[in-house]
C-alpha cells in the first residue's frame, strides 16, 4: 500500500461531510444570490440618487408610488395578461398532457417534442413570433394572398401578440407537470370506475380530473409566476404600449435611472412569486396524489 494512502483516506472522509460539500455552492449562493437580494431590498427603501444609484436614508416613497394610477395600470395589466396566458395554457395543455400519458409507444417522442421547446432559447422563440406576426410577416402575407383581408392586420405590439408570445413560451411548463400527475395515475382506477357504472365523462370528471389536480395546480403556478416576471415577450412583441412590471423594473434601471423604485418593483414581483410557491407547496402537501 502506498505511503500517502492513509492520508488520502483521511482527506476523503473529511471531504465527504455535509459542511465541506455544501460550502462551495452554499457560499456562492449566499454571496451572489442572497446578499444581492438583500442589497436590492435595502435600495428599495433608500432615497434616489441624482445620477442613478441611491443616497443614504430611509423612505417608503417608492412603494407609495405604486398607487399612482399609471403604475396600478401596469400592475393590473401584468396580472390580467398572466392570468389569461395561464388559462389559455391550461386549455391547450391539458389535452396534450392527457394524450401523452395515454400514448403508449409514442410517449417518449411526444414528450421530447414538448421538452425541447421548453429549453430552447426564449429569445429565438420570441423572434419567431415577430417573424410571423409583423405587418409584412407570414400570417398577414398568407391572409392577404387568400383574399381574406385587404390590408395587413395590426398584430404586433398588441395585447394579442404579448399573450400569444407568453403562451408560446410557457405552454410546456403547463404540459409537463400535468403529464407527470396523469402518468402516475393507476390505469385500473378507470377500469374500476367503469365497472362501478361511470361513463367516459363521469370517469374523467370524478377520477382523472381530481387525481391530476396537483399537476394542474403546479402547471398554473409554473406558468403564472414566470409570466408575472416576464420581460422579453412584452418588450419585443408588445412594444412600449404593453409594458408589464418586468419592463417597468428594467426601465427604472436603464432609461429612468431610478434604482430604488426599480428595486421596490422587483421586490413586489419577488413577493408575488414567493406567495405562489408557498401556495403551491401547501396544496402539494395536502394533495392525495403527492407532489410533482
Amino acid at each position: 500500500m502506498a505511503g500517502g494512502r492513509p492520508l488520502l483516506r483521511r482527506l476523503a472522509r473529511w471531504a465527504d461531510r455535509p459542511a465541506t460539500l455544501l460550502a462551495p455552492a452554499g457560499g456562492w449562493l449566499v454571496v451572489f444570490f442572497l446578499v444581492p437580494l438583500l442589497i436590492m431590498a435595502a435600495y428599495s427603501v433608500m432615497p434616489r440618487g441624482t445620477y442613478g444609484g441611491v443616497e443614504t436614508g430611509f423612505t417608503l416613497e417608492h412603494y407609495r408610488r405604486f398607487f399612482d394610477p399609471l403604475y396600478l395600470d401596469i400592475l393590473r395589466r401584468t396580472v390580467v395578461l398572466s392570468a389569461v396566458c395561464t388559462a389559455l395554457c391550461l386549455v391547450l395543455g391539458y389535452p396534450v398532457a392527457y394524450l401523452i400519458a395515454r400514448s403508449g409507444r409514442w410517449k417518449n417522442l411526444l414528450l421530447v417534442l414538448v421538452i425541447v421547446p421548453f429549453w430552447t432559447s426564449f429569445l429565438v422563440r420570441t423572434f419567431a413570433m415577430i417573424f410571423l406576426l409583423r405587418d409584412t410577416g407570414l400570417v398577414n402575407a398568407v391572409l392577404l394572398r387568400l383574399g381574406l383581408i385587404s390590408e395587413p392586420l395590426i398584430l404586433l405590439y398588441t395585447p394579442f401578440a404579448v399573450v400569444t408570445g407568453l403562451v408560446y413560451t410557457f405552454l410546456p411548463f403547463m404540459i409537463l407537470p400535468i403529464y407527470a400527475s396523469l402518468e402516475r395515475m393507476d390505469g385500473s382506477l378507470l377500469e374500476a370506475g367503469a365497472l362501478l357504472g361511470a361513463g367516459p365523462v363521469a370517469r374523467f370528471r370524478r377520477i382523472t380530473l381530481p387525481l391530476s389536480m396537483p399537476g394542474v395546480v403546479a402547471g398554473c403556478l409554473l406558468v403564472f409566476i414566470p409570466a408575472l416576471g416576464s420581460f422579453i415577450p412584452s418588450d419585443l412583441l408588445g412594444g412600449a404600449k404593453q409594458m408589464l412590471i418586468g419592463n417597468l423594473v428594467q426601465n427604472q434601471f436603464t432609461a429612468a435611472r431610478n434604482w430604488p423604485f426599480g428595486s421596490a418593483a422587483s421586490l413586489v414581483v419577488m413577493a408575488a412569486v414567493l406567495v405562489g410557491v408557498v401556495a403551491y407547496l401547501r396544496s402539494r402537501d395536502r394533495a392525495p396524489g403527492g407532489g410533482v
Partner: protein, 261 residues
Amino acid sequence: MLSGRTSRWLGAAVGLVYLFLHLPLLILVAFSFNASRFSVDWTGFTLEWYRRLLERPDILHGLRNSLIVGGAATVIATVCGTLFALALGRHRFRGRRTLESLLYVPLVTPEIVVGISLLAFFAALGVALGLATIVIAHVAFSISFVAVVVRARLMGMDRSLEEAALTLGADEVTTFWRVTLPQLLPGVVAGGLLAFTLSFDDYVITSFVAGSGSSTLPVVIYGMVRRTVEPSINAISTIVLVVTTILIYAADRLSRGGAAR
C-alpha cells in the same frame, strides 16, 4: 378508454397544439435559407445569410464571449452543484429538508430580479462589469439546476453499491472513483449540459451585468431583433436553435437513460 370519435378529435386538437409549438420555429429556420431579403415569398435557396454572419464582428465577438462565459460558468456550476447534491443525497443532517427547498428558490426567482439585484450588488461594491460578472451571475442561477439534476440521479442510485465496494476491499477514495462517480456521471454531464444551455441562452440577466465589450451572443441578437427583422437573424437563430436542441436532447437522454436501468 375513449370512444374512437372522441379520441380522433382529441388527437386533432393536440396535433394543432404541437404545430403551434413547432411550426413557428420551423418557418424561422426555413426562411434563413430564403434568397429574398424582404419578401416572405420563397425566391430560392441560399446560404448567403450564414455567410454574412461571418462578416459581422459583433456577432463573432458575442459568440466568443458566450463560449468563454458558458464554459467557465458550466465548470464552476457543475462542480459546486454536484457537491451540493452529494451533501443532500448522501448525508443526514439538521436542516437538510429546508436546504432542499431553498435549492428551488433560484429556480423560481424571475430572471429580472436576479439581474437587477446583481447589478445593484456589483454597483454597491464598485465592481466593474465584464465577462467575470457575467460568469458569476450565470453560476448563481445554474447551480440549482445542476444540483436538482444530480440529486435526482443520486436518488435512483443504490447506496449499497458503495457499501458493497467497501466490503470488497475498496477504500473511500477508490469507491468514489470506481463506483460513485461512474454511477453519477450521466447526471453530472446532463447537469453540465443544462448549465451551458442556460448560460448560452440567457439574455435578461446578462443584459444587466454585461459591461461594454462583454456582450454575449443573445445580447447581440436582442439588439438586432429590436432594430429590424433581417434574414441574418433567422440564420443566427437557427444556429442557436440547433446547438441548444442538441445539448438538451443529449442531457435528456443521459438523465433518463440511466434511470430506466
